[in-house]
């Protein structure tokens, strides 16, 4: 007992509410600016010039998913080292949010792909497939947590998936540098060959900042909820073990 939030802590911090609210407003502003303020692209170079505006949420969703997978990695590593409930809550939160943002990327991406490339997916592209695999690992972890008995041994297995899956994050990030097939390369960094219009970069960064705030808010709420869940389970267990407590 006492491993998780006590009975008195029945409300997550108000900070989480503010973060979700501000993040949500930021996302709405990003969509508005991306649709109506960001410049047009050269229609002779783009098959679907209006669809490019998907980038203002698609890319921030991808970056935010990397944050979530990092939380998952830290939680998995912490679980292996300490076997603490605090680390396990990070695994739970990281996998939930990694799946959330990963699904966002792999749905918006193919929609954009259909418009711009004429195909929703390319099985030969490294970045597409490593990111798809990353999201599949998050899905596996979420489903395993819900279907398997909650013992240390199943947590060990799930955490190992979180640890190894994280290896795909740096591979996905540099995929277009080491092997570019179809997915565009890194554009936020200015080089001789790449770069973004300042307005486009500004809106994209606003999108990322907004989603990061949303991510932090969701993480706080999720972490608190899993803590309450564990606390409720502890209480039930104590009641069952108490003499005459059936």
């Amino acid at each position: 007992m006492g491993r998780s939030a006590g009975l008195g802590e029945n409300r997550y911090p108000n900070l989480a509410n503010y973060l979700v609210l501000v993040g949500g407003i930021g996302v709405a502003i990003t969509v508005f600016l991306g649709t109506f303020w960001a410049p047009d692209v050269n229609p002779s170079q783009w098959r679907a010039p209006e669809a490019y505006r998907i980038i203002f949420l698609h890319v921030p969703f991808a970056w935010t998913s990397f944050l979530a997978f990092t939380v998952l990695f830290i939680g998995s590593l912490g679980w292996y080292i300490t076997h603490s409930d605090k680390s396990w809550r990070l695994v739970q939160t990281g996998s939930d949010l990694g799946l959330l943002f990963g699904i966002g990327v792999i749905t918006s991406g193919p929609i954009w792909g259909m418009a711009e490339w004429g195909v929703p997916w390319d099985w030969a592209d490294l970045r597409l497939n490593t990111f798809g695999l990353l999201t599949a690992i998050a899905l596996f972890i979420v489903m395993a947590r819900r279907s398997q008995p909650d013992h240390d041994s199943s947590r060990d297995t799930i955490a190992s998936a979180g640890l190894f899956g994280f290896m795909l994050v740096p591979i996905t990030i540099i995929a277009t540098t080491i092997y570019q097939k179809r997915h565009p390369g890194i554009v936020v960094l200015e080089t001789e060959d790449t770069g973004l219009d300042p307005q486009i970069r500004a809106v994209m960064l606003l999108g990322f900042a907004s989603l990061t705030l949303l991510f932090i808010g969701f993480s706080i709420i999720s972490n608190h909820l899993y803590s309450l869940e564990a606390s409720a389970e502890d209480i039930l267990k104590d009641m069952d073990e108490r003499p005459g407590g059936e």
């Binding site: 969509v31 229609p43 669809a51 949420l57 259909m114 209480i235 005459g244």
Partner: protein, 52 residues
């Protein structure tokens, strides 16, 4: 407006999944609150050590 409907669909899905997750988290919180309240109510009273 080439790709406009794709833009609309993609943005709707992205915002939609954020809203759905937010609602799910809030509903879980409420159901957990109700569950905890019911646990507190049915917890047996500790034995009175002063009784003969």
């Amino acid at each position: 407006m080439s790709g406009f409907y794709h833009l609309l669909l993609a943005d709707s899905i992205l915002i939609g999944i954020l809203v759905i997750y937010g609602r799910w988290v809030l509903l879980r919180h409420r159901s957990l609150e109700d569950f905890r309240t019911s646990i507190i109510q049915i917890q047996p009273l500790p034995p009175d050590e002063g009784e003969a």
